[in-house]
């Protein structure tokens, strides 16, 4: 059985939720109904229904017992990291909302929230994989090294989807000017600049991506 990871993640997850909340263990009738409702996700729904059935073997008791054994006064490192992720992302998104409210035109300030900034390293790598690119390329996106006028709307939408960030926040990030070093003293005679931006195609061609990866990105 094959399946795609390129489907619109929101629509696909919507289909998964519908299947999951309908019954504890799906049956053939339910799966057939869901595939009729979401025919574009037939293979994914079939695989998901199988995973749900296997998962149901665990039962709720063992999970209930694990939750009941929690010490409510202790916050684990994993939970602390997730809270930190939440606060960083919330700050970035609410700052973006405020920027959109006060500046409906595309902002060009270096202060636009950087939706890549709060990504922990594993998520940064995972994002690169989801974009069918690599960390060097995503680094260029993060550091605004690509001229946004040369990016297609389809590419920007795809980045927003994979980042799970509002499109306007991502567009504002790309449109903002590059951040130059802010230190007071420099060894060079002139203040360092952020450097020239590459075109989208130059960036794609110079990141060590395979021919197929380059082609896929350029066609978005």
């Amino acid at each position: 059985m094959t399946q795609t990871l390129n489907a619109n993640p929101h629509s696909l997850r919507e289909a998964f939720y519908a299947l999951s909340v309908a019954q504890d263990v799906p049956d053939a009738k339910l799966l057939d109904d869901m595939v009729r409702r979401y025919p574009e996700f037939g293979e994914e729904l079939t695989e998901f229904a199988i995973a749900l059935a296997v998962d149901s073997l665990r039962g709720e008791r063992v999970i209930e017992a694990a939750e009941a054994a929690l010490d409510p006064n202790v916050v684990s490192p994993a939970v602390s990291r997730a809270i930190s992720h939440f606060q960083n992302r919330l700050h970035a998104v609410t700052a973006g909302e405020r920027a959109t409210e006060t500046k409906p035109a595309t902002p060009a300030s270096p202060d636009a929230p950087n939706p890549f900034a709060a990504l922990p390293r594993p998520e940064f790598r995972a994002l690169a994989e989801r974009l069918n690119a690599n960390a060097v390329f995503v680094g260029k996106l993060r550091d605004r090294q690509i001229d946004p006028r040369t990016m297609t709307p389809g590419f920007q939408r795809r980045v927003a989807e994979e980042l799970k960030a509002p499109l306007e926040v991502v567009v504002a990030h790309f449109a903002a000017s590059q951040a130059a070093p802010v230190r007071q003293f420099f060894k060079a005679e002139t203040k360092p600049s952020a450097g020239d931006q590459q075109t989208f195609e130059e960036a794609v061609r110079s990141c060590g991506l395979t021919e197929a990866q380059q082609q896929a990105l350029l066609e978005l």
Binding site: R58, R81, I83, P166
Partner: protein, 263 residues
């Protein structure tokens, strides 16, 4: 009264929280922060003061909309700790490559839903979590596991069980699958609890194609194949022939037959 949900069913009716959740939400939003903190310390689901996860989701969304940092800071650690306890059981170390990172990704993914609540393409996604938290969260988890497995091209890493001597015998074939079907009917009992883990391991140890065939036929109830071209069967769901399904079932039966005495 709690803010109504906005997601709709296929027939256009609005999602509604189950009545006990609705009642608890109405009560919880009235609590002063110190009282709420006391309630959040209760971890026993059978305690009347226990706040359901659906209710915590509602409080967090309320805090997010109102910019109430104190409320979010009180509730979020409790909800995430429950989710982490769930993940330590359902995504344990050793079953997936880098399970620790995957659990973190899932927790981060859940917080992302709160960050983006009311925004983007699916602004009411958290409505699912206010209605059936555990089922919604298992969706998030299984989807994340599915994506991670596909990305790493690795299937769940469980050692294959040794083939049973009963492989290929018709009686063993029938017995093994009778146990599979029964297992999905009796699993809430205490008797089942003793066999849950080894049975789950046996199912997960099957090669993916065999597991799919077993679950589609013996749990979901599909026919192996049909002469009616419009009928969905295990073969049509797997894009293969009925003969292939039968071969997969035969191979799986040998591996599951060891449970005919155990379960």
């Amino acid at each position: 009264m709690a803010r109504p949900l906005t997601k709709t069913e296929p027939d256009g009716t609005l999602y509604r929280r189950p009545a006990p959740v609705e009642a608890q939400v109405d009560e919880a939003v009235q609590l002063k922060l110190p009282d709420l903190r006391r309630r959040l310390l209760v971890t026993d689901r059978n305690n009347a003061a226990y706040l359901r996860s659906e209710c915590l989701v509602h409080l967090l969304r309320h805090g997010r909309r109102a910019g109430d940092q104190a409320l979010m800071s009180a509730v979020l650690p409790v909800l995430l700790s429950r989710c982490e306890a769930n993940l330590l059981v359902t995504v344990p170390d050793g079953r997936m490559p880098d399970a620790t990172s995957l659990r973190q990704d899932i927790l981060d993914g859940l917080t992302e839903l709160f960050v983006l609540d009311g925004l983007g393409e699916n602004p009411a996604e958290l409505d699912f979590y206010e209605c059936r938290f555990n089922k919604a969260f298992r969706t998030l988890r299984i989807d994340a596991v599915r994506r991670a497995a596909r990305r790493s091209k690795e299937i769940i890493d469980v050692a294959a069980l040794p083939p049973s001597e009963a492989e290929g015998e018709p009686d063993a074939y029938e017995d093994a699958f009778a146990r599979v079907s029964d297992a999905f009917k009796v699993f809430p009992t205490q008797e089942w609890d003793a066999f849950r883990e080894p049975f789950l391991n046996a199912i997960e140890a099957l090669p993916p194609e065999e597991r799919e065939a077993v679950i589609l036929v013996h749990v979901l109830g599909y026919k192996e194949e049909s002469e009616d071209p419009n009928e969905e069967t295990a073969a049509t769901r797997c894009n293969c022939t009925g003969r292939t399904i039968r071969n997969r079932l035969t191979r799986a039966a040998g591996k599951l037959a060891r449970f005919k005495e155990d379960v």
